[in-house]
């Protein structure tokens, strides 16, 4: 503005000076030479007078320049800002009709155009609303159906972002019973656009997806993969995963996402385990008792010349063992009556498929080439391929590290009711103590899952393992005897491969994944947490504290009003009456609320993988920063400030308060000065800003942050 003003001034000044000089020159030329001499003399003697003239011209032109800049340039720019706002953000906004007559006329024309534009938008909106209503009805039908399903269903894109889930899935995965908000808040939440991997181990899902893609690449129709996982301190879940393909028709065979149907099988598995142990105990107990009875009886028959003491000893053994056997059987039948038939079982797969999976795993994870020999394609086994691959890879890693085994081979053969799966290497056998240690080593000890050991996995599969060697061929092998299973039923090919339900419009399927660097991602595609805090005062460094945190999420350009974060915080200090007048949170409302040490980590979880947005956010960030040491959580990700973005968009406006912005963008203000109310208003304003920023070429997060930095307000410090 200053530069423009200066330029105008200089131009006016030069023009005036030039005109005066021109008049004098013309006068000089027109006069006969004696008078010319007089004119020069007159001018030379009146330098003082000339100086004053020049000064007056300077002042007049300065005034003129400021008038022109003020009246024309500023008004034209304000008009331009208004027009952009109408075009991209708030069609009911009208340009101010002020300034010179021409500009007033222009403003009126713009407003006329705006009125037409608004009307036509309204018509469009009505037509869209009608079309959308049908779509909504379908969606509601789907939602109702999902809600009534007995299974927990989660739909994700290939990056694990959740784009649909039902209430049962939420209850199962987060263990929330709905009642206790503050306790549930610390658990990683389930929400649209959030990552499923915060709840279920990424490896297990990736494994299942790899399996599905592999099976599909072999021509299997709509394969379903079974996975087992433990969550939240050991609860065992079984999931069935299937790929969702070709949503947009753009790449019809590339998977766009997956559906996961989950059920809690912890109880079933435990029951199965108990039953299995009971059965083993009964069988082994009976065998032992019978062995003693039979041997004693045979001794009595075969050696009739026994002395009385011996006879008595053997008959006592018979009585004692028979009694023991009776007790054992009574006990077992009593326990067995309580059990039901279990449906718990892992996936049935061809042994050769298991081997090819194990080979791929070992080659990629351990870096040892693994071949296959003597594979019998008719054998089927019942196996949880993820855990089996984990423990077998672990064995391979041990062989590589400790025995420098450079090459492995698999083979499989039937032996009675088992498939003998061998992991073969060339070289010596390993000492039995070492093998025993490997059997009990934890392969993976996740925070939530029970440690996975070969022994655990074997027991789960009712398998037995040992190792052998063949001196002639100098080969050794680990042998895993897996019970043979019946072949899996092939899924009948569905007739409607091309047809899709009409309620398929999950935009998240096509969203760019986190593969793109966050800074370069389009502002429209980023997930945001828009938040606000209420505090005891304005000076965090002087002991002011947070009393309330409110936040909403924006995912895929939509404000998710159903996924709120709202938490009152006990500040552990007095709340001054002056601040109560602003936020209305009275000290008694804060009694029994969590302190910042609990509330902030919960908020941090809520914000996971999103960009923070706030109005005058530097203020809130300062409070969060000061709590970093106490709470152990840091908010170090990128942050956007609607106040700064407003300064970027409306350079000539001084007022960038939340109220002014709400009015400018036509956003209804509800619950001003509650944290969550302000967060919602800020979020709506921010959504309106995104297209306006795009018009100015600010499209990515990086650009938005750079533009914010440039504005004067960026230097404000609290």
């Amino acid at each position: 503005m200053k530069a423009r003003f200066l330029a105008t001034w200089l131009a006016c000044y030069a023009l005036c000076l030039g005109s005066v000089a021109g008049v004098l020159l013309a006068l000089h030329e027109a006069l006969p030479s004696p008078q010319q001499q007089d004119l020069i003399e007159a001018l030379s003697s009146g330098t003082n007078f000339l100086f004053w003239i020049a000064l007056i011209i300077l002042a007049t032109t300065g005034f003129l320049a400021s008038w022109i800049v003020d009246r024309y340039f500023r008004s034209v720019r304000a008009l331009s800002d208004s027009t952009r706002l109408i075009a991209a953000g708030n069609p009911s906004y009208r340009a101010a009709t002020e300034g010179p007559a021409e500009l007033r006329k222009l403003a009126e024309s713009i407003n006329l155009l705006a009125a037409r534009h608004e009307a036509s938008l309204r018509d469009d909106a009505e037509r869209v609303a009608i079309a959308r209503a049908d779509l909504e009805a379908e969606k509601i039908r789907l939602a109702t159906l999902m809600a009534e399903l007995a299974e927990s269903v989660v739909v994700c894109n290939m990056d694990g972002r959740i784009l649909l889930y039902n209430e049962r899935a939420r209850a199962l995965l987060t263990g929330a019973n709905g009642g206790d908000r503050s306790a549930a808040a610390v658990q990683a939440p389930l929400g649209l656009g959030r990552s499923l991997f915060a709840l279920i181990d990424r490896d297990i899902i990736s494994h299942a997806l790899d399996q599905l893609q592999f099976r599909r690449s072999r021509g299997e129709h709509q394969p379903v993969s079974v996975l087992l996982t433990t969550i939240r301190g050991g609860q065992l879940l079984r999931g069935r995963a299937a790929l969702v393909t070709g949503v947009d028709g753009s790449a019809p065979h590339a998977p766009a996402g997956f559906v996961l149907v989950l059920e809690d099988v912890g109880q079933e598995a435990e029951m199965e385990d108990r039953r299995e142990r009971l059965q083993q105990r009964v069988i082994e107990g009976s065998r032992s008792a019978l062995a003693n009875i039979r041997a004693a009886a045979e001794n009595l028959v075969n050696y009739p010349e026994l002395d009385a003491a011996r006879r008595h000893e053997f008959t006592s053994i018979i009585t004692e063992e028979a009694e023991k056997l009776t007790r054992e059987l009574d006990d077992a039948s009593r326990q067995h009556a309580g059990g039901e038939v279990s449906q718990w079982s892992p996936e049935q797969m061809r042994a050769v498929d298991l081997i090819s999976l194990l080979r791929r795993r070992i080659e990629s994870l351990v870096g040892v080439p693994a071949g296959a020999e003597n594979t019998d394609a008719t054998l089927w086994v019942s196996v949880d391929s993820y855990s089996m691959a984990q423990v077998v890879s672990h064995l391979a890693r041990r062989l590589k590290d400790e025995l420098s085994v450079a090459e492995l081979r698999f083979r499989v053969a039937a032996a009675g009711g088992n498939a003998h799966l061998d992991l073969v290497w060339t070289g010596a056998r390993i000492p039995s103590a070492t093998a025993l240690a490997w059997e009990n080593e934890p392969v993976r000890a996740g925070a939530d899952s029970a440690p996975l050991t070969l022994r655990n996995v074997l027991r789960r599969h009712r398998a037995v393992a040992w190792h052998e060697n063949d001196r002639n061929s100098a080969c050794s092998w680990f042998r895993i005897a897996l019970p043979l299973a019946a072949p899996a039923k092939a899924h009948p090919a569905g007739p409607h491969r091309e047809s899709r339900p009409v309620y398929y419009d999950f935009d998240l399927f096509s969203q760019t994944g986190p593969g793109t660097r966050l800074a370069e991602r389009n502002l429209k595609d980023i997930a945001y947490t828009v938040f606000d805090t209420e505090t005891t005062g304005l000076e965090p460094s002087a002991g002011d504290e947070i009393v309330s945190i409110g936040a909403v999420r924006i995912v895929n350009g939509r404000l998710l009003a159903s996924e709120l974060f709202e938490q009152l915080v006990d500040p552990r200090r007095a709340v001054p009456a002056s601040s109560v007048r602003i936020h209305g949170i009275r000290p008694e409302m804060l009694e029994g609320q969590p302190t910042i040490a609990t509330a902030l980590p919960a908020f941090h979880k809520f914000c996971e993988d999103t960009v923070l947005v706030g109005h005058n956010v530097a203020f809130d960030m300062r409070f969060l920063e000061l709590k970093q040491a106490e709470t152990g959580v840091s908010f170090s990700g990128p942050v956007l400030d609607t106040m700064l973005l407003s300064a970027v968009l409306h350079r000539d406006t001084e007022n960038h308060s939340l109220e002014a912005l709400a009015e400018r963008y036509g956003v209804d203000v509800v619950g001003r000065h509650t944290a969550v109310g302000d967060a919602i208003v800020t979020a709506e304003i921010f959504l309106k800003m995104i297209p306006l920023l795009a018009e100015r070429g600010i499209v990515t997060l990086l650009q938005a942050r750079a533009a914010s930095q440039e504005t004067v307000h960026a230097r404000v410090r609290y």
Partner: protein, 122 residues
């Protein structure tokens, strides 16, 4: 001189019965009630044959068997696994651990005595 047999089982009744049977067949007997004892007895007593239970405290029969087979000193000691574990895979594991015979309980006394004789007097 009589051949020596070690009976390793943690259950006293079966030990009594096996002792009687083996004495009747003319063998010298020593017994052990857990895996550690069994291994100690093997190196002290130098039996010609071990009747080995699988489910024993401290070290199980598979381990005892493997440990014996790893030491060339006991290469010619015969091992009969005598156990209530009757699944195919367990039997395969027992033989792979180095046992010469795997007898599942309950067994016929005559057959057991014959198996012992066959292993000791080829």
């Amino acid at each position: 001189m009589n051949k020596r047999i070690l009976i390793a089982d943690d259950e006293p009744n079966i030990v009594t019965l096996l002792e009687f049977l083996m004495q009747q067949s003319g063998y010298d007997i020593r017994s052990a009630s857990n895996g550690e004892d069994a291994l100690r007895a093997v190196s002290e007593y130098h039996p010609h044959l071990v009747l080995l239970d699988v489910m024993m405290p401290l070290r199980n029969g598979y381990e005892v068997c493997q440990t014996m087979r790893e030491s060339p000193e006991f290469d010619d000691v015969k091992i009969i696994m005598l156990t209530a574990k009757g699944r195919e895979a367990e039997m395969a594991k027992g033989l792979a651990s180095g046992a010469d015979a795997y007898v599942t309980k309950p067994f016929a006394t005559k057959e057991l005595v014959e198996t012992v004789k066959r292993l000791l007097e080829p």
